[in-house]
């Protein structure tokens, strides 16, 4: 970036960040209105004896349960187990999906070779793999991580392939005019061009990763948030189930937010509809 830009843009950005933060916070609060209202109504209903709250525990009971789980260290142990699985599966799925997606998007020969097979595999409901994975990898971590990786793989693969295939030929030609070599073309034209769709693919991959970790843990685990769910069901502790669900929601949202926030600085150039008014 040039020096001229620094001097021109500096006062602008300072102004631009101050106002929207306040606005963004107030917007975030707006999103809490509906769930908080519902929770308060339910709490009141149980307190007034309209319902005994046994099967649908009120917020106070749920937060007590969460608190107890946190106090005893249970919550952290289970969260750590789940997060580790998702991280490993997500990592594997992203690497495989990115590689194969890039190859399939870049070379039409390999796309014609691989894509039909992968599309056929994609149409298999992933839970159907579980028995096979357990036979192959045993009942411990490997089979769970593989299942999560499979879930993450497909959205990433499709996203990367689609993004590369839809890069504007005219933009690629600019790279050719300036005689970029193959690797330079990838680094300076293709990668930045596919980045926005790639982030979307990562986020949907992560969403599926969280979905599949629950499936994997429901089907047999001795720890993990999914184990808390099944444990709560078998011991008749609905509050523990809801507490685990709340934990899933918080962690899932947080990890998604991390990807979105970490990628935002690289996507400032985007000419998005929703970006209007945010920047200026």
């Amino acid at each position: 970036m040039s020096l001229a830009h620094m001097t021109i843009a500096a006062p602008d950005t300072a102004k631009a960040t101050r106002a929207p933060i306040r606005r963004r916070v107030s917007r975030a609060w707006l999103g809490l209105v509906v769930p908080v209202t519902l929770a308060v109504i339910w709490e009141i209903a149980v307190r007034l004896g309209v319902s005994d709250g046994r099967l649908v525990p009120p917020p106070s009971v749920i937060s007590n349960t969460l608190w107890e789980l946190a106090q005893s260290g249970e919550l952290w142990k289970h969260t750590l187990a789940t997060v580790t699985r998702v991280a490993a599966g997500f990592g594997l799925g992203v690497v495989a999906g990115t590689l194969l997606g890039a190859i399939a998007g870049y070379s039409s020969l390999s796309r014609r070779l691989m894509d039909p097979t992968l599309q056929a595999l994609r149409s298999i409901p992933s839970i159907a793999w579980v028995p096979l994975f357990i036979l192959w990898f045993g009942i411990f971590e490997e089979s769970k991580i593989t299942l999560i990786a499979v879930g993450v793989f497909f959205p990433v693969y499709l996203g990367v392939m689609g993004a590369i295939m839809s890069v504007d030929r005219k933009i690629v030609e600019v790279g050719r005019v300036f005689r970029l070599s193959g690797p330079a073309l990838v680094r300076r034209i293709l990668l930045p061009a596919v980045l926005p769709s790639y982030i979307v693919a990562l986020r949907s991959g992560l969403g599926l990763g969280w979905m599949f970790v629950v499936a994997a843990e429901l089907l047999g685990a001795s720890e993990g948030l999914g184990f808390l769910l099944i444990d709560g069901q078998q011991l008749g502790k609905p509050a523990q189930i809801v507490a685990a669900i709340v934990a899933f929601a918080i962690i899932g949202k947080t990890t998604d937010w991390i990807i979105a926030t970490a990628s935002a600085p690289f996507l400032r150039w985007e000419d998005r509809f929703s970006a209007r008014g945010e920047e200026r």
């Binding site: 970036m1 001229a4 830009h5 620094m6 005219k170 933009i171 005689r179 150039w269 000419d271």
Partner: protein
């Protein structure tokens, strides 16, 4: 010296786009290429740029055969084709990334000043108007200091005021850097304002039809009798070039276009 010898192009689908084009263009010359639709103007330009390959004949620049994009040949497209993830300054410096940073910044700043966009160095392409974006594209093509600059209908997407403004910009830049300019246009006046030579092409297949010298003093006065004389000659040549092969859709084209475009 850019030399084209019997250049022809037949596309894989059998379309015969270009045939037997022989042309010499000296350093610093400005050549305009005009002609009806389908007469291979863009094909010719893309072949010179090295983006496409002719199927017959050869193209050489200073004796060197052009088979792929060449560092001495720049091209400006009809659309700016800026990279949206780079700032204006980084877009302009895109083709000289191999140079040291200071040299790069110096050259970018200089060219941006020439196209009157120094104050836009740090903004994203999305914030530019159409004319500004095309000026950035011109700057980007000029920064590596090409010997030959090809322009494929560079101003056709712009309004009349912006177009005139950009013609002046390009001429001013030409006066300073003195590259060879070869540009395709639909606008006869634009061709005469800018070019030393106007080459009329005829379609099916695309061939050179007639060459008209426009040796008027610069800057050129659109109102002068000499300008008008050249314009008449070009228009007459265009009519003849289309007349032999004129098909119904060509005539419809004629009726639909405004007065600024001759057909």
């Amino acid at each position: 010296m850019l030399v084209l010898e019997h250049v022809g192009k037949t596309y894989a689908n059998g379309v015969h786009a270009l045939e037997g084009v022989t042309l010499n263009v000296g350093l610093g010359e400005i050549v305009a290429i005009v002609g009806g639709s389908g007469c291979g103007k863009s094909t010719l330009l893309r072949a010179i740029s090295g983006l496409d390959h002719p199927t017959h004949g050869r193209i050489t620049l200073d004796g060197e055969k052009i088979t792929q994009p060449h560092e001495k040949i720049g091209i400006i497209f009809q659309e700016p084709r800026l990279l949206p993830w780079l700032t204006v300054a980084d877009n302009v410096g895109f083709g000289i990334a191999h140079l040291p940073k200071e040299e790069r910044q110096r050259r970018v700043a200089r060219v941006l000043e020439k196209v009157g966009l120094s104050d836009k160095a740090g903004v994203w392409p999305r914030e530019l108007s159409g004319g500004q974006a095309q000026r950035v594209a011109i700057a980007r093509a000029l920064v590596p200091q090409p010997e030959v600059l090809l322009l494929d209908e560079p101003f056709s997407a712009l309004d009349a005021f912006t177009r005139t403004d950009l013609q002046d910009h390009v001429l001013a830049l030409w006066a300073e850097f003195r590259p060879t300019l070869i540009f395709v246009t639909h606008d006869v006046e634009e061709a005469i304002v800018m070019a030393d030579r106007i080459i009329v092409m005829r379609p099916h297949p695309g061939r050179l039809y007639e060459e008209i010298a426009a040796d008027l003093p610069r800057p050129r006065d659109r109102q002068s009798a000499a300008f008008d004389f050249v314009k008449r000659r070009v228009l007459a040549a265009l009519d003849r070039s289309l007349g032999h092969t004129a098909r119904i859709d060509d005539r419809q084209d004629k009726a639909e276009q405004g007065a600024a475009m001759w057909w």
